[in-house]
């Protein structure tokens, strides 16, 4: 029988402990504001996992998380911090919301689907291009530049939706509704759309890329020792652009999937803030694509359950983000034990 390498389990254990600690601390916070944490969490589990609706919703919501996480995995593995994923997500979503109605009429269904998804990917890539070039050429901190672009995007898409791409037939500012037949097809025999499959493929493809390809190898060297990468002749500037473009593309793809599958249109002032969830998630997963799958299920379930419970127990859905923030902090602290 193979001896289980305890050392290899340590990282996973630390991540799980971080989650537990944040749940416990969350419970304490609930106590302080006068709610019953046990009641809250049991209801959360019951609603999120206990009902078929809950489980289905959780799985559906996993898709954009997984896709964005795939993007974050790609760039974090190279030591590049694309924190402005939400902006790229919105651009991809907006382009899809705007173009889908037109393209669905003009193209046969399978081609239309691919075209629309490609549009989302392109949108995300275009949106991260400026920060990518600035980082590659002038070493400008990409956290700041992607965040700035993100805020530009948030306002830009709202302006566009209220203006040029508005569907004037409806009162609230939004793009034309995509008819159900032109949405993302479901997985046969289920209500779950194939965005989930796209998410799984994205994650596993990214994981494979990082571990097994020369591109991923160069990324990993960049993260571990940029000086050595340069000295060995790796084109760090070009790799920087690739890494950031890939992650931007995934973010845009997630936006396209969300619009195509869940919402069917793009609204102004809408930002599901997946970044706030995906960033802690990817860290907790220790940049391992396989680990992202159960973690995105967990976080998705928290969000879905949180939504359901919010109405009943008068605990705002924001609470889930509080848990996410604390998880990241506990995870950061747990890094100490990794050393």
């Amino acid at each position: 029988m193979k001896n289980i390498n305890l050392n290899a389990l340590k990282p996973a254990a630390l991540s799980i402990v971080s989650i537990l600690f944040s749940l416990i601390t969350g419970g304490i916070i609930l106590l302080i504001i006068g709610k019953d944490p046990l009641h809250y969490f049991s209801l959360l589990f019951a609603r999120g996992l206990g009902t078929s609706l809950g489980v289905t919703e959780t799985i559906i919501k996993m898709a954009p998380l997984m896709i964005i996480s795939a993007g974050l995995l790609s760039c974090f593995s190279a030591g590049l911090w694309n924190i402005g994923v939400e902006g790229q997500f919105l651009i991809g979503a907006m382009l899809t919301g705007w173009a889908a109605p037109m393209l669905s009429a003009a193209l046969p269904y399978p081609i239309y689907l691919i075209a629309v998804l490609l549009l989302g990917i392109t949108g995300g890539m275009v949106w991260i291009l400026i920060p990518a070039v600035l980082k590659a050429r002038a070493d400008l901190n990409e956290i700041i530049t992607t965040l700035m672009m993100s805020w530009v995007a948030i306002n830009l898409v709202t302006w566009l939706v209220k203006g040029p791409i508005n569907d004037l037939a409806t009162v609230p500012a939004q793009t034309k509704l995509i008819p159900l037949i032109y949405r993302m097809p479901p997985i046969p025999f289920t209500r779950i759309h194939i965005g989930l499959i796209i998410g799984l493929i994205s994650l596993l493809a990214t994981h494979w890329m990082i571990k097994r390809t020369t591109l991923g190898y160069q990324f990993r060297v960049m993260l571990a020792n940029k000086k050595a990468a340069r000295h060995a002749g790796m084109n760090v500037a070009r790799l920087t652009v690739y890494g950031l473009l890939i992650s931007g593309g995934f973010a845009g793809l997630a936006g396209a999937c969300d619009v195509l599958a869940i919402k069917g249109l793009f609204q102004g002032n809408w930002n599901p803030q997946y970044g706030m969830t995906a960033i802690p998630l990817v860290f907790l997963a220790r940049l391992n694509g396989w680990a992202v799958i159960p973690l995105s299920f967990f976080f998705s379930f928290l969000a879905v359950g949180g939504e359901f419970v919010a109405r009943d127990l008068d605990v705002p859905a924001f609470f889930v983000h509080v848990l996410e923030g604390m998880t990241l902090l506990f995870f950061a602290a747990s890094e100490y034990f990794e050393k």
Partner: protein, 314 residues
């Protein structure tokens, strides 16, 4: 059309610039010290939000502006301490900690706001307000704009020369500069590297939080979850552009305060552009400014690197 360039508008823009600069400058001054000693505090945004929210909630509930500012100070110091413990003592990755703090503080503020105030967004009456400086306020046009501001504005700008002197003319400032550049050498000289860094991050947390408090209590008189809108990160840019020199940081802050003031002036002047479009501009401005003005050299060499004595095992 003439009125657009009238003196009233100019005065309004100057006043608005100074007001808008204050929270960014306040946060940037503390961040200057933190970065100079080697800490990159990405939690600055979260600290500003926390300061804004806590000061507002406390001020509203206790009906006291004083306690509002005090609680912001406490919150800022606490968050700075948390950042410090994680990054200095436990030597964990500063970027992860900073992001975690921001996500936590941001969502915690939104969460508590919902819990306490429900769906309402109450206004704090008695907040805002200005203090006029007697003689100077009578200078035509600019007098009212510059010398009739909230007391925190005066305090913030007064801190600029003080912090400059602290940085270059005192023992503490010398040690901060040494620690950020070569912590090993500072340690060998007997300087307590970690203690200096704790001081600077406490300062950073304090000023960031007070910056947020000013926005809630001194400028806007209410709190919405997204009110900080990236000013913390803009402060980081300002620190970079100002090359970690308090006076230059002040100029950088004024630059962005001016950009922000312009955007609101455009709306007031009735220029027919949607507010969403105008809101984009400050962030584009940041990127352009970064492009034009950054000289990439002279970063404190130990920025983002935790310090451990004998880490190289020589």
């Amino acid at each position: 059309m003439n009125d657009i360039f009238g003196s009233a508008l100019i005065a309004a823009i100057i006043a608005s610039t100074i007001r808008g600069t204050t929270p960014i400058l306040l946060a940037a001054l503390g961040e200057t010290y933190a970065e100079r000693s080697g800490l990159l505090n990405l939690g600055i945004e979260g600290m500003m939000v926390a300061g804004a929210f806590s000061s507002f909630a406390v001020a509203l509930n206790l009906n006291s502006l004083f306690y509002g500012f005090l609680s912001a100070a406490v919150v800022g110091l606490t968050l700075g301490l948390v950042f410090g413990i994680l990054t200095i003592t436990l030597r964990v990755n500063q970027i992860v900690v900073g992001l975690g703090l921001t996500i936590f503080a941001h969502s915690m503020s939104s969460f508590l706001h919902r819990v306490i105030f429900g769906n309402q967004f109450p206004i704090l009456f008695g907040a805002g307000g200005t203090n006029e400086i007697p003689v100077l306020a009578r200078i035509p046009i600019i007098g009212q704009a510059i010398f009739n501001q909230h007391w925190m504005v005066y305090l913030t700008f007064a801190m600029v020369p003080v912090l400059y002197g602290l940085m270059y003319k005192t023992r503490f400032g010398l040690r901060v500069r040494a620690v950020g550049e070569t912590p090993l050498a500072a340690d060998a000289a007997g300087v307590n590297v970690n203690r200096i860094r704790y001081y600077t991050i406490l300062l950073g947390g304090l000023t960031a939080s007070l910056g947020g408090a000013f926005m809630a209590l001194g400028d806007l008189a209410f709190f919405v979850p997204d009110m900080i809108m990236g000013r913390g990160y803009i402060a980081i840019v300002v620190v970079m552009l100002g090359q970690w020199n308090p006076f230059k940081v002040c100029w950088g802050g004024l630059l962005f305060g001016f950009a922000l003031a312009l955007t609101s002036a455009m709306q007031v002047a009735g220029i027919n552009i949607s507010p969403d479009f105008i809101l984009m501009l400050p962030y584009l401005f940041v990127i352009v400014a970064l492009l034009l003005f950054t000289r990439s050299t002279n970063l404190p060499s130990s920025l983002c690197v935790p310090y451990k004595r004998g880490a190289d095992g020589k």
